[in-house]
């Protein structure tokens, strides 16, 4: 499911951006073509690098896929559900990040080191926000598993905890932008700018490795969307196909919205990014307070 749909998600965003940019833009399936092309190519390695550099894409991709096991998609229940899986989700992303950063440093380039440094910094703040949101959701749903949190109880919660959920959703959206290097934080479409984060770290990857990396990034974006959609569209028809359809519509909606945001906003200056993330945290914290107030 994730493997199948995530590049599409990316494609939609690009298409929306192009549309608002006044261009036709590439096909929504363009990411698939890119990946297929990359899978056929050979890799080039720097003298400086070690096995870490080769291992990183694999670990990154694998851990993102492992996370996908814990997230429900519409009617498809998450295969792995247990009380406390939210930590595993967060820390699997951490594992991916660790290898990404280390691989970037492996090249010995100051360029990639810079990206790595920024990634490490911003992730601290987004991690805080994510956990803050988790806490609020746990308090709302009284369950400590991801499936439980964003699962059945949400429709009820919207009535009681509407404001809280709204705040959580908005804060989580900012985190999605930051974690997946979308525009106000980072610019995914360019390499040569001194202000970018994610793209600069994978500069030296090529061929299959780059494909893994890109695929991993796309999947990660998809997964975050997958967490957000059930909260936004808590509609359970009971019919499997309908549910899935609703989910897909929701995902498309998010993709379009991300595209809108990317088109409408300029990239922020680097030192403003922290403020953005802090705003996200503040929103999350506000949500928590509202929850306590209502509780």
């Amino acid at each position: 499911m994730v493997l199948l749909f995530s590049p599409f998600f990316l494609g939609v965003i690009t298409r929306v951006k192009a549309f608002f940019g006044g261009r036709v833009g590439p096909s929504v399936f363009q990411p698939y073509f890119d990946l297929a092309k990359l899978f056929q190519k050979k890799c080039v390695y720097s003298h400086t690098t070690t096995w870490i550099f080769r291992a990183a894409p694999i670990v990154v991709f694998a851990s993102v896929l492992a996370v996908s096991l814990m997230i429900p998609f519409g009617a498809f229940k998450a295969p792995v559900r247990f009380s406390g899986d939210i930590f595993l989700v967060a820390y699997l992303f951490g594992l991916a990040r660790f290898f990404m950063i280390v691989a970037a440093l492996d090249t010995g380039s100051s360029f990639e080191g810079m990206g790595a440094s920024r990634e490490a910094f911003f992730s601290c703040l987004s991690e805080l926000t994510i956990f803050m949101n988790f806490v609020t959701l746990v308090l709302v749903a009284h369950q400590i598993s991801l499936s439980g949190m964003i699962g059945a109880e949400i429709p009820l919660s919207w009535k009681l905890m509407g404001p809280t959920l709204l705040l959580v959703v908005s804060s989580f959206f900012i985190v999605i932008l930051a974690e997946n290097c979308r525009i106000p934080v980072d610019d995914p479409s360019t390499h040569l700018e001194l202000t970018m984060i994610h793209e600069v770290m994978i500069l030296d990857h090529s061929g299959v490795d780059l494909a893994y990396m890109l695929y991993g990034a796309a999947a990660k974006l998809f997964l975050f969307g997958g967490i957000l959609v059930p909260i936004l569209l808590p509609i359970h028809t009971g019919h499997g196909l309908m549910d899935t359809l609703i989910f897909v519509v929701g995902m498309l909606g998010i993709a379009i919205f991300i595209g809108l945001v990317e088109s409408g906003m300029a990239r922020l200056r680097l030192n403003r990014v922290t403020n953005l993330l802090l705003i996200a945290f503040a929103l999350a914290f506000f949500g928590f307070i509202v929850r306590l107030w209502r509780g």
């Binding site: 699997l92 951490g94 280390v102 010995g108 400590i144």
Partner: protein, 607 residues
């Protein structure tokens, strides 16, 4: 489960009673593992000093330390406990000052002894207060005594200071970042892995004995955990020396352990046995885990320092090519300490998180607020630790060498030093992938500390998620293997072309242009500059053809530079001034006598 051994021993109030209960068992596990590993490693590490200085004393004190620590965790009598505690402090001191020709080492040892002595004195007072109420010096008897809340508060306070100095809670930690780098690496590993845990053991033992504490104690412990954890890792980020950095990470991990204990204590205060057991068990498991991975990291750092002759992170680089095995083992340690899945650090952090979230659901409002703070700080600690260890690993082991190091291909340290590292790395992965054994053991310890009967229901409640995590971990491994095969299938067998680092065509890189540890950590350190007292010195460049400029940056440890040191200096100066004055006239001496006599007469003969 409990076993008591008694020997005859003739000292005032002393009894040689050893008791093995779950708590001691857990700590003994960590001790035995690290004693073995550090000892074996030491054989290899010390070989380079053979002949130059006497190693007998070093070996003696190492063994003495191991025995003393073993006694500390099994002692069932106050006097025996204190004796072993003192013995441990002294032995540690002599291990630290192995390189006594260096002033920094002497200073570190000095600081250590003072700090540990302060702590020990608090323990003296604490135990005697307890003994006074209980009427006995026996821990078991004390455990059956009820203490008044006020006394319990005082005892808690003394325990936090007394054991906290040893453990390295902020702001009593100042000795720690000096002592750990000063000692030989296997000693650092032992210190960081075991000795500071004995501080935690002291607190645990008191928690067990006291049974009931006022509610605020739990909050204090939780807060201490949060502060130590976050500040520890922030300070670590600002360090330039690898062992000093690791030392600050010990503070961070002690903070996590204290956080767990705080969760347990609060659970106990609010009669939530599951939360209590989870918090305690998580803390105890983290004790073992930290011993293992921090031991591994220190041993790895020692190997690097021995081969590269420096521990300055900014001078190292590309070590992975020279010492591939060591670097891999260090990576295992780094991943574990960041608490990432597949490795042991995750399991204990998971338990603490789990306890925290359970607490959020079950506790009254103030408890929720504090637990949420705990969750947030744990998340922040995790993210910062990750930043820090990517920095260490990336800068030290990867990239190009930053200073000219003459090497002849790969050059690993001797087997004596490699074997313990392999063992520790193996343990990291074993606990990470198959946590059930250790989880059971520490949960038993948690039950013991929470004063509750072992219950299969609760045990299942924690073992169940762990087994799923276990399964997920194997799925992850399977995925990785699958991806490796996919990659191999796609790429074929022929060797890949290699070239210079591309970096968007930004070639002609000198190794000096690489990102250094300081620059890597700078955004974070800069962001927290007011908390950390981060200062830059020099570095202004001006003019069209700038002159040579120098820049250095440093993170000041506030409690050391602005709290303890000025106080000590003031006192010393005062002492010197008074001394010079009184030395001049003998008559003044006589006046003292006279005044004292008059004082006694007036005081006592008035009636």
């Amino acid at each position: 489960m409990e076993k008591i051994i008694q020997f005859p021993w003739h000292v005032p109030f002393g009894e040689f009673t050893l008791k093995l209960d779950p708590l001691s068992l857990i700590f003994l596990t960590a001790i035995i593992i690290l004693t073995l590993c550090a000892g074996i490693y030491g054989v290899g590490y010390m070989r380079s000093y053979q002949g130059a200085r006497s190693l007998k004393a070093h070996a003696f004190f190492f063994l003495l330390l191991a025995v003393a620590i073993g006694l500390v965790v099994t002692a069932n009598n106050v006097i025996l406990f204190l004796c072993a505690w003192e013995l441990m402090s002294i032995a540690t001191y002599f291990l630290i000052v192995f390189h006594d020709e260096k002033p920094s080492v002497r200073r570190a040892g000095f600081l250590y002894l003072i700090a540990t002595h302060c702590g020990t004195f608090c323990l003296f007072l604490m135990f005697f207060l307890m003994a006074r109420t209980a009427g006995s010096m026996d821990f078991t008897v004390m455990a059956h005594t009820t203490f008044s809340p006020a006394l319990a508060g005082i005892i808690f306070f003394l325990a936090i200071i007394g054991s906290g100095v040893k453990a390295g809670f902020l702001p009593m930690h100042i000795w720690l970042p000096h002592a750990h780098p000063a000692a030989p690496s296997h000693v650092s590993a032992f210190l960081s892995g075991v000795t500071i845990k004995i501080g935690i053991y002291g607190i645990c033992r008191v928690l067990w004995i006291m049974g009931i504490f006022p509610n605020w104690c739990g909050y204090v412990l939780l807060t201490i955990g949060i502060v130590s954890g976050v500040m520890g890792v922030l300070y670590a980020l600002g360090q330039h020396e690898i062992k000093r950095l690791l030392a600050y990470h010990s503070i961070e991990n002690i903070g996590i352990i204290a956080l767990g204990l705080g969760v347990g204590l609060l659970g106990r205060s609010y009669h939530q046995p599951f939360i209590a057991a989870l918090g305690f068990a998580g803390a105890l498991l983290h004790v073992i885990n930290h011993a293992i991975f921090k031991g591994l990291l220190f041993l790895g750092a020692g190997a690097v320092i021995q081969k590269m002759h420096t521990g300055e992170i900014d001078k190292l680089g590309g070590v992975a090519k020279i010492m591939p095995l060591t670097s891999t083992l260090f990576l295992v340690g780094a991943l574990s300490i960041c608490g990432l899945p597949l490795f042991n650090g995750f399991i204990s952090e998971f338990m603490i998180y789990f306890g925290l979230f359970q607490g959020v659901l079950a506790l009254p409002l103030q408890g929720v607020v504090f637990f949420v703070l705990g969750i947030l700080s744990l998340a922040l600690i995790g993210a910062l630790a990750l930043a820090c260890f990517t920095k260490v690993y990336g800068i030290v082991f990867l990239g190009n060498p930053r200073s000219s190091i003459e090497t002849k291909g790969t050059e690993e340290v001797s087997a004596w030093m490699m074997a313990p590292m392999f063992l520790l790395a193996g343990l990291c992965i074993w606990i990470g992938l198959m946590p059930a054994v250790m989880a059971r053991l520490t949960f038993m310890g948690g039950n013991f500390l929470a004063h509750m009967e072992p219950s299969a229901f609760y045990l299942g409640k924690i073992l169940n998620p762990l087994s799923i995590i276990n399964g997920t971990a194997f799925v992850l491994l399977a995925l990785i293997i699958m991806l490796v095969f996919v990659r191999r299938w796609l790429l074929g067998k022929e060797p890949m072309p290699t070239s210079e680092t591309w970096s968007c065509g930004f070639t002609q890189l000198s190794s000096k242009l690489q990102y250094t540890s300081s620059s890597f950590a700078r955004p974070i350190v800069q962001y927290f500059r007011n908390t950390l007292l981060f200062r830059r010195y020099g570095g202004e460049v001006s003019g069209e053809f700038p002159q040579k400029a120098q820049m250095s940056s440093h993170v000041h440890d506030a409690s050391e530079d602005y709290l303890f040191r000025p106080v000590f200096t003031r006192l010393r100066n005062l002492s010197k001034r008074i001394d010079e004055k009184s030395i001049r006239y003998t008559q003044i001496y006589l006046i003292y006598i006279f005044v004292f006599l008059i004082f006694l007469l007036v005081w006592k003969m008035r009636g």
